[in-house]
């Protein structure tokens, strides 16, 4: 065991970091949300948030985040499942992960070219006779690019959960007469739920707050909570309103974390996502 003074020495820089960069910023956001543009105390920002404009914005932001999470899950689960059955699964997993290490901005930028008026997708459409379509700046392109970005983060925790599954359980289920669908629904899925929860956590919360993809891919058509915060802070310079939206985003974040909390310790990957 280390001496008391050594322990204090460990705690000081880390404690200072927690106070200054975890506690203080949240407190400041809460404090700023109580002031209007002119710096006078008000609850007006909160009243504004419950007006129809912001409520609709919140709802649509949740709807987009829900769709992005759902599609990511629908693609990621089978991918993770099939990956665990491949021969060199760790290598394949690495190959799935590599694209997530490429700068997010570059991947998004690529889609500006791919979905563009004269891009390959439109060329394909023209070739099969659908004709030129506006793909960029639509809901579809926004959701597609977001799902593309989040898939690797969704795959990883699910892969780890499935990989840890004892194959004897599946054999047992089959021996007892369950077909593959029942085995999946009653054995595999419940036992890998922790991975799914982690995946949802690392997808849903960032999806609520995306702002770079909305700006570049969706033009200004899609507004999420993230876009609204960025708008208030950096364009309108209304920090009070921006902070109020941030307060609600933090609240939503805690609620989602409660729902996706891991019951067992040592979860299925401490995935983090932005």
């Amino acid at each position: 065991m280390q001496s008391k003074s050594a322990r204090a020495l460990y705690l000081i820089p880390y404690g200072a970091w927690i106070l200054l960069f975890v506690v203080a910023p949240i407190a400041l956001v809460g404090y700023y949300s109580l002031f209007d543009l002119h710096g006078s105390f008000t609850f007006g920002n909160y009243r504004n948030f419950f007006s129809s404009i912001y409520l609709r914005l919140t709802l649509s932001s949740f709807w987009y985040a829900f769709l992005i999470t759902l599609f990511s899950l629908l693609i990621a689960y089978p991918t993770a499942y099939y990956l665990t059955k491949t021969k060199h699964k760790q290598l394949w997993l690495l190959l799935i992960i590599i694209p997530s290490w490429i700068n997010l901005l570059l991947k998004t930028y690529a889609f500006i070219g791919i979905f563009g008026q004269y891009g390959p997708i439109n060329a394909l459409f023209a070739a099969i006779g659908i004709g030129n379509k506006q793909i960029l700046f639509t809901d579809f392109s926004f959701i597609f690019v977001s799902v593309y970005i989040f898939i690797p983060f969704m795959i990883l925790p699910i892969f780890n959960a499935i990989d840890r599954l004892n194959p004897a359980l599946i054999d047992a289920s089959r021996d007892l007469g369950a077909n593959s669908w029942t085995t999946f629904r009653r054995v595999i899925l419940p036992l890998t739920m922790n991975g799914v929860k982690s995946g949802i956590q690392v997808t849903f919360i960032p999806a609520l707050s995306l702002f770079m993809i909305t700006r570049l891919i969706a033009g200004n058509k899609v507004i999420t909570l993230g876009t609204a915060i960025e708008q208030q802070f950096l364009v309108t310079q209304n920090w009070g309103m921006g902070s109020t939206i941030a307060v609600f985003l933090i609240l939503f974040m805690f609620i989602i974390m409660l729902f996706t909390e891991q019951r067992e310790k040592g979860g299925t990957g401490n995935g983090r996502n932005r």
Binding site: W17, V29, K85
Partner: protein, 266 residues
């Protein structure tokens, strides 16, 4: 379990194709003399040459690397101390509070981190620019270092420390000659992740950077908003090579420490 069937292989193949297509699309057009991402005219290195001739861009790359290296070094130091502090924390309640606070920045969306840090720096009177960006990067990298180091510390047997003590090691010796070498793989993994977080960060930097200072992500964003320039494509070709190199390095590192893929990039 059954092997992979045809349908499964097809599905996996499709996922791989979609994941890699945009990246290779970018790199492919980086060699296009035509100047657009629509029709390939002829092969050229001119866009790569343009990257190396653009002194402003080189300066920004330099800034980005400096911020990444410095911030991960500082974050690793604070994070290792933090992990030690958590491990030696006797009070269980305080310990779990510390751990939850540690995880706040990991699950917080970037926009929240960026906006709240912007308020913090303004309130403290810190000028926006290199300092604010560096400090923010240190701040959001600390928790991942803690998470990488903590399991190593927890799995370490107490008898190792007792043995060192019995053999006459001082507190400092125990730390530098027993604990640190033991948790080294965790420290490296933490440093590595911190490095990639910093290199990849866009949103936080976007909020806390001033007029005079820019990192690569922020620069790519403003270039992309202005329209398509194949300089970005050339840049992505170069970054792809660097990234793959880094990933392979991380992979090699993790292979040795058996903690494969416990960490994932945001």
């Amino acid at each position: 379990m059954a092997g992979t069937g045809k349908g499964q292989k097809l599905f996996l193949g499709l996922v791989f194709l979609i994941l890699y297509a945009p990246i290779f699309f970018l790199i492919f057009y980086s060699f296009n003399s035509g100047g657009t991402m629509t029709s390939f005219e002829s092969f050229t290195w001119e866009h790569y040459a343009a990257v190396f001739e653009d002194t402003r861009l080189i300066m920004i790359v330099f800034n980005t690397v400096i911020v990444a290296l410095l911030s991960s070094l500082l974050a690793t130091t604070i994070g290792v101390l933090g992990a030690l502090a958590i491990v030696y924390m006797k009070n269980r309640k305080l310990r779990s509070t510390l751990l939850s606070l540690n995880n706040v920045l990991i699950v917080s969306p970037d926009v929240i981190i960026g906006a709240s840090f912007l308020i913090l720096f303004t309130a403290l009177g810190v000028k926006l620019g290199f300092t604010s960006v560096l400090v923010s990067h240190v701040a959001f990298s600390v928790p991942i270092v803690v998470l990488m180091v903590l399991p190593k510390l927890l799995e370490m047997s107490n008898s190792l420390i007792d043995a060192a003590r019995d053999l006459g090691a001082s507190g400092k010796d125990v730390l530098t000659r027993v604990i640190i070498p033991y948790i080294k793989p965790g420290i490296f993994a933490g440093f590595f992740l911190a490095l990639t977080y910093s290199l990849d960060d866009f949103a936080v930097t976007f909020f806390v950077t001033g007029n005079g200072f820019s990192t690569l992500s922020v620069e790519i964003y403003s270039m992309a908003r202005a329209g398509i320039t194949l300089t970005i494509n050339a840049l992505s070709g170069l970054l792809f090579i660097v990234t793959v190199g880094l990933v392979l390095g991380y992979y090699a590192l993790n292979r040795r420490s058996k903690t494969l893929f416990t960490g994932v990039k945001r």
